[in-house]
């Protein structure tokens, strides 16, 4: 046995994020931790990584008491974590990022030997198969995925005893995932252990040796992955039998001829070219592709938030010039980057929901807090946001509930055309089901949607039509049908 965590506790006010959890991890074990949003997985890992201080409990590493006072100390003791968010520091070069905290290794007589540093890091990158990354360039110059890979190289380089990976795969494409799995397997081969948080149960079952299931801050069970099924895990996570109904089940439903949104020759140098499509009333249009294929940028351009865009976006026959025009036409955009672009984390849920609805709330230009509270409560109730009251800061909600708030912001102002970028990214099955149900409901009431997603199954399950992006261009269009598989889409993506 490598590590033992006993009676771990962490409370945030009245919320018991982690409530008396005891886990053991064996040497050379890849352990998955699964659970719905808000079940306390990240909190548990944060305590082990020295980011959060436990409110109770004891930790042992290699039989010794282990109490890290900071993340740096945890690193020194052989515990490192790859967090959900990007944590490379912009402004430092790739090499400096990888060697962060270990400057001594390339310092000679108090002077940093940059040539030696770059040579060292170049070797490490080559060993990891990342030839295209230059050690002496600013880390910010690389894409989200590449920066995540840089973090992986850093994590692998310190050869930790416990490597923790918090929901990283959502930011990675297939190749990136392979890199991550390789790193995890190498760690295992060294006799060290991996703690792995993921919402992708298929991935969990194929990569991990055993699974610990958590629910509402409590440990449910730890089971070997062998002989376990996705269904079984889902049921353990949710604590009740889930019905098979998850995605849409209708096929061949006719779509209205009415075009609500038309995009003509949308171009943006370096990001996407010649994007043309029509969105019909009551249609769910999917955008699929690799993360760098230009689909996220194209969706943002449709909303008018991308720079240097040429071409036309026409809604109900009118040409759009600004975001304001689109709002007047009832377009809503849900960003992939929830915390930065969708939500006001320090503001209350009330303020978050009301921000789009002042036309409705303040027809005479005046609005009282009471009216806002009532309105927000009503809207949050529709999606069953788990909250104390509407005055609670949005930042204290779990990922899934944050997304519900982001959605209700646009639902509340009677949006007709939704542009959703990765609407279920990093969200557990329970909330996912709510969101899929909502999409179907919206479709049936005649609203139109553009859904950008890197999860192909989601597109196959929900979209009426899928546009595949490849190298910034639309490389294929696929109609909804029963026999569609991931393979069909992947062929056009690569």
């Amino acid at each position: 046995m490598l590590a033992r965590f006993e009676h771990m506790k962490k409370y945030f006010g009245a919320t018991r994020a982690v409530d008396d959890i005891s886990v053991e991890i064996g040497a050379g074990e890849i352990r998955a931790i699964v659970g719905e949003n808000g079940s306390g997985k990240s909190t548990l890992l944060s305590m082990i990584a020295g980011i959060l201080e436990p409110d109770g409990g004891e930790m042992f590493l290699d039989g010794q008491a282990y109490r890290p006072s900071s993340q740096a100390e945890a690193n020194r003791l052989g515990v490192s974590m790859i967090v959900q968010e990007i944590s490379t520091l912009p402004g430092l070069t790739v090499a400096e990022n990888i060697m962060l905290g270990r400057e001594r290794e390339y310092t000679v007589f108090g002077i940093r030997n940059l040539r030696q540093l770059n040579r060292m890091v170049k070797e490490k990158l080559e060993r990891a198969g990342l030839m295209e990354i230059q050690p002496d360039r600013d880390a910010a110059a690389y894409s989200l995925e590449q920066r995540k890979l840089i973090e992986l190289v850093r994590a692998a380089d310190v050869e930790p005893k416990i490597l923790m990976v918090d929901e990283t795969t959502t930011a990675l494409s297939q190749t990136g995932r392979e890199e991550l799995y390789k790193l995890m397997r190498n760690t295992k081969a060294r006799g060290s252990s991996v703690l792995f948080i993921s919402h992708d149960l298929k991935e969990v079952l194929s990569v991990c040796d055993s699974v610990t299931v958590m629910r509402d801050g409590v440990l449910i069970d730890t089971v070997p992955t062998e002989g376990m099924t996705e269904e079984g895990l889902k049921n353990m996570m949710v604590g009740r039998e889930l019905s098979g109904h998850y995605y849409r089940e209708d096929y061949g439903t006719p779509i209205s001829d009415e075009v609500v949104l038309e995009v003509k020759d949308l171009n943006c140098p370096g990001r996407f070219q010649n994007v043309n499509f029509q969105l019909h009333r009551g249609e769910i249009l999917g955008f699929g592709g690799l993360s760098e294929a230009g689909m996220h940028e194209a969706a943002r351009a449709v909303y008018g938030m991308e720079y240097d865009v040429s071409g036309d976006v026409v809604i109900n026959g009118e040409k759009m010039h600004s975001v304001k025009d689109r709002l007047a036409k009832k377009v809503g955009y849900i960003s992939k980057n929830r915390d930065m672009e969708s939500l006001f984390n320090q503001a209350s849920i009330r303020d978050n929901i009301c921000i789009t609805c002042f036309d409705k709330l303040a027809p005479k230009g005046v609005v009282t807090r009471r009216r806002m509270t009532r309105f927000a409560k009503e809207q949050a109730g529709l999606l069953q946001v788990k909250m104390r009251d509407t005055g609670q800061p949005a930042g204290t909600l779990s990922g899934g509930n944050k997304q519900k708030v982001a959605l209700s912001k646009w639902l509340a102002c009677d949006t007709e055309i939704f542009i959703m970028d990765s609407p279920t990214r990093g969200i557990d099955v329970g909330v996912k089901a709510v969101i899929y149900g909502l999409m179907e409901e919206l479709k049936n009431s005649g609203k139109s949607m553009i859904i950008v997603s890197e999860e192909l199954l989601e597109l196959i399950g929900m979209a009426d039509r899928i546009l595949i992006f490849k190298n910034g261009e639309i490389s294929g269009e696929i109609e909804r049908n029963k026999d569609l598989t991931e393979e069909h889409l992947v062929q056009r993506m690569i």
Partner: protein
Amino acid sequence: MQNRFRKIVESSGPYLGLIFLTIALTILTGGEVIAPGNIKLVLEQSIILIFASTGLIFVMTMGMLDLSVGANICICCYMVAKVCQVNIPLGILTALLTGILVGFLNGVLTGRYKIMSFLVTLCTRYIINGLMVPLIAKEAVTVPFALYSYDNFGFKITVLILLVGAAGCLYMFTPFGNRVRMIGSNELGASYSGVNVRQVKIGCYMICGAFGAVAAFFTAIRTGTAALNTGSDMMFNALIALVMGGFPARGGAKARFSSCVVGGLVLSILTNGLTLLEMDATLQQFLKGGIFLLIIVLVSEKKRSGGGRLRLRLRTES
């Protein structure tokens, strides 16, 4: 423990401070502070400060700064003194327009050209000062005699209640006020939610400029002259007043409008009390600067971030 302490400081701290300060100064000065004549004096002194910080609160809620408040008061004061010699309403109008124009410039530079507010307003401050040098460096302009009729307490208080009340309503009960707070909370998020960030920024700076002009008018009739150093202490005083009133230093959703009134009163009582105690003016500045830093340290959010690796945001759940 520390958390709870911070919460108390944040919510009722300013009021407790006001009461504590009044009691302490009453004891120290042997009751002089709460003599009726002195209370009136304190209120009168606080009026200009409250006007300036009311304007500033809009800008600071967005997480931005205005260092040109003092310079703006200086130039508006000059307009009042100069133009009122011709026609009093015209003079007031000119001053108001000047203040709004200064605010508009600040707003356009920060909102349209996205330059840091601290740099922009520092520059406008020096530009305005530079403009004023040839006009009033040699000789201060005297305010026409007719204006002194406005220097009565009832008039001042009425204008204060009306204007600050209006600003309070704008801040608390209108979509505009809400948008200001949301920009302070997450500017990028606000623009994705369809808030016209540029417009709101320009609007806030114009409000700030207009309130600067009002403060300038009352400065003019109080001091009787427009000189180079008119309003020069206002930039820092308005800032301290807000912080003493419990204003979060980085603005945002937790900002309360009451900060500008409460803070203005607290600072005025403090200044008045220290003057009664015959404390040297330089020493007073030293003390105010110290208090400012102390409050900022007490209410600042202490984040625990682990050593070398930076994790910007700690989630509380999941």
